[in-house]
């Protein structure tokens, strides 16, 4: 620690050996100035802190104002209508909402078990020297910008899906009653399933890193007690660690879900931008964010623009609820662990 503030306030008293009467007013003046600057700084920090609230308020108000024309024109029908026709100016949000929910759901279906298992490996099984490198690598995966996943998905992953995975799925499930409709249609490569898988890869590091943090925070005494009873590693994880950290894990999962719901670029590249609700996971679809990204700059007319902003509002409301729930849960586990 360096000595702080060489020209600081305390010098004042040191400069004058004896405080004469004539110096007192000037000293008082300096003190007043100091108090003012002190207050000023406090006010400055407080307004900056309030700016965070202003940003949130601004986002909500601007989205609501922007979506008024669309909500007026379509009313409550907007979220439930499948039509999306710029020519006749009939817009409905059903297809993007459906696509957003389905892609995120499938992504979580894959990312949650895999992410938890990776966290299990990192906290219980992995040799000590390997822990840090693997954890860093997983976090780097989280840092890769989403557009990189997008371009990789478009040029590498979608062709791979088209060539190998999708024909396999169609072949395997084509004659099974329910599943055949899930995997119907030609293998386009792009589509709902491909987007969901890329989302799963993107969300995986978030889930892993948060679950690792909460697993690490489990009091060793609990685990040692279970081992002492003769539990296996898996039993300790499954019966002790997981129940103890349940709230935190769910919080982490919901944080990942928030990411998946709002993810734009990775999905925009590979979803196909088709405003259609189809049962098949191989069919092209769209999500809220992909629709906005694809169409906003090309939107002609107030109603079109407003409908896209209304989509943004719906997305913001959904993610806000999910993220708020996630934060509340994570706050609860923090309190529990202390």
């Amino acid at each position: 620690m360096q000595p702080a503030g060489r020209s600081a306030v305390t010098d004042l008293a040191l400069q004058s050996n004896s405080l004469s009467v004539s110096e007192a007013p000037s000293r008082a003046k300096v003190l007043v100035r100091l108090r003012r600057s002190d207050d000023l700084f406090r006010i400055l920090t407080r307004s900056a802190a309030l700016a965070v609230l202003v940003i949130l308020g601004g986002v909500i108000v601007s989205l609501i104002l922007g979506s008024i024309p669309a909500l007026k024109a379509f009313g409550l029908e907007f979220p439930f209508s499948q039509s999306w026709n710029p020519v006749t100016e009939k817009f409905g949000a059903l297809a993007p909402i459906y696509g957003t929910l389905v892609t995120s759901f499938i992504a979580m279906l894959i990312a949650v078990p895999v992410g938890l298992m990776v966290a299990f490996f990192l906290t219980e099984l992995c040799p000590k020297w390997l822990r840090r490198p693997i954890a860093i690598a997983i976090e780097l995966l989280a840092g890769i910008p989403s557009i990189i996943y997008g371009i990789w998905g478009l040029f590498v992953f979608a062709p791979f899906m088209q060539e190998y995975v999708q024909p396999l799925l169609i072949g395997a499930f084509g004659n099974v009653p329910v599943l055949s409709s899930l995997f119907a249609g030609p293998p386009y490569g792009i589509g709902v399933l491909t987007s969901a898988l890329i989302l799963a890869i993107m969300v995986l590091p978030f889930i892993t890193s948060i679950s690792r943090d909460v697993f690490d925070a489990v009091p060793p005494v609990l685990k040692e007690a279970a081992y002492g009873l003769g539990c296996t590693t898996w039993e300790v994880f499954h019966r002790v660690v997981l129940p103890f950290t349940r709230v935190g894990v769910i919080g982490g999962v919901m944080l990942g879900l928030g990411r998946a719901l709002g993810e734009t670029m990775a999905v925009t590249f590979v979803i196909g931008n088709a405003h259609k609700v189809s049962a098949s996971l191989l069919a092209p679809g769209t999500t809220i964010s992909a629709t906005i990204a694809n169409e906003f700059t090309e939107a002609v007319g107030d109603l079109y623009t407003s409908s896209l902003i209304a989509l943004g509002l719906i997305l913001f409301v959904i993610t806000f609820i999910v993220l708020a729930a996630a934060r509340l849960m994570l706050a609860r586990i923090e309190k529990k662990i202390g």
């Binding site: 407080r46 965070v52 940003i55 990776v118 490996f121 219980e124 995966l141 709002g262 906005i292 906003f296």
Partner: protein, 285 residues
């Protein structure tokens, strides 16, 4: 009899344990496999196009050779401007949360909202800035792009600043107070100094975060095919150019998109590794 049954249960538990361990290992290899795969493909496709021309020439029309000079410069300018706008606000807000209003009710509300903004969809930020800046101004502009990125920078910096200031030992603050230092001076001269490495880490992480952001720029800064330093007009940026070029049918453009993707990823990974190193060096000292 009972003894042998114990044995089978014991064996079953062992088997289950082994299977779970195997699955965990497989999951880790699976997770890391994607990282290797994505980076591998990126280097494979991007390195071929990497040349001096990429850094010295403008983005070309389809079918011609060219580089990425204008988007690279545009991204740099937008990022710097966003950091200049966002960092002071973020640091001051973080300071309030850690130093002044630590236990106030409003602070826990701000903390909560900040955490939500931290992971809110960035495309919504783009819509927000479009509504408050682009629509009233009547045109897309670099300023709007920079402000949109600044909105993303703020929560990151707020969070790290607060965390790092909280780590500063209270004894330092008490010592400062005991020699009569006003609070503002204590914060600026002592707390900031002690938390310097951590705050810098936060800024670096914020830069890493925004240097790959595409969605908030799509309808704020838009894009510009030509050299332009006018921030009041559309400005080209690397992520948006990658988006446009990758989705184009032209092979030259797609190749440039890969090269741009490699540049961005290298930048982001370097920034996050430097930030990490900085954070761990700050902790140990």
């Amino acid at each position: 009899m009972a003894h042998s049954m114990d044995r089978t249960i014991y064996a079953a538990r062992q088997r289950k344990n082994a299977v779970a361990k195997g699955l965990a290992l497989a999951a880790t290899v699976f997770g890391l496999g994607w990282l290797v795969l994505i980076l591998g493909v990126l280097i494979w496709n991007g390195l071929g196009g990497l040349s001096l021309a990429v850094f010295t020439e403008m983005t070309p029309p389809p079918g011609q050779a060219g580089g990425l000079l204008n988007p690279i410069v545009g991204s740099l300018v937008l990022t710097i401007l966003a950091v200049v706008i966002g960092t002071p606000i973020g640091i001051l807000a973080g300071t309030y949360l850690a130093e002044y209003g630590k236990h106030e009710n409003i602070s826990s509300v701000i903390r909560f909202i900040n955490d939500i903004l931290l992971s809110a969809p960035s495309i919504v930020v783009g819509l927000f800035i479009y509504e408050v800046m682009v629509a009233p101004m009547g045109h897309f502009s670099g300023y709007a792009g920079a402000v949109a990125l600044a909105v993303i920078v703020i929560p990151v910096v707020v969070r790290t600043t607060e965390d790092m200031l909280t780590l500063v030992p209270n004894a330092l603050r008490e010592a400062a107070a005991s020699i009569g230092l006003p609070r503002a001076h204590m914060v600026i001269r002592i707390a900031y100094r002690a938390a310097r490495a951590g705050i810098l880490t936060g800024i670096l992480l914020a830069v890493a975060r925004i240097s790959g952001e595409t969605a908030p720029l799509l309808f704020t800064a838009l894009n510009n095919q030509f050299w332009s330093t006018n921030l009041n007009a559309p400005v080209s940026s690397l992520p948006v150019v990658i988006f446009q070029f990758a989705l184009s049918p032209y092979a030259d453009w797609q190749k440039l998109a890969w090269t741009g993707a490699l540049i961005i990823t290298a930048t982001v990974l370097t920034l996050s590794i430097v930030a990490r190193a900085l954070a761990s060096s700050g902790k140990s000292s």
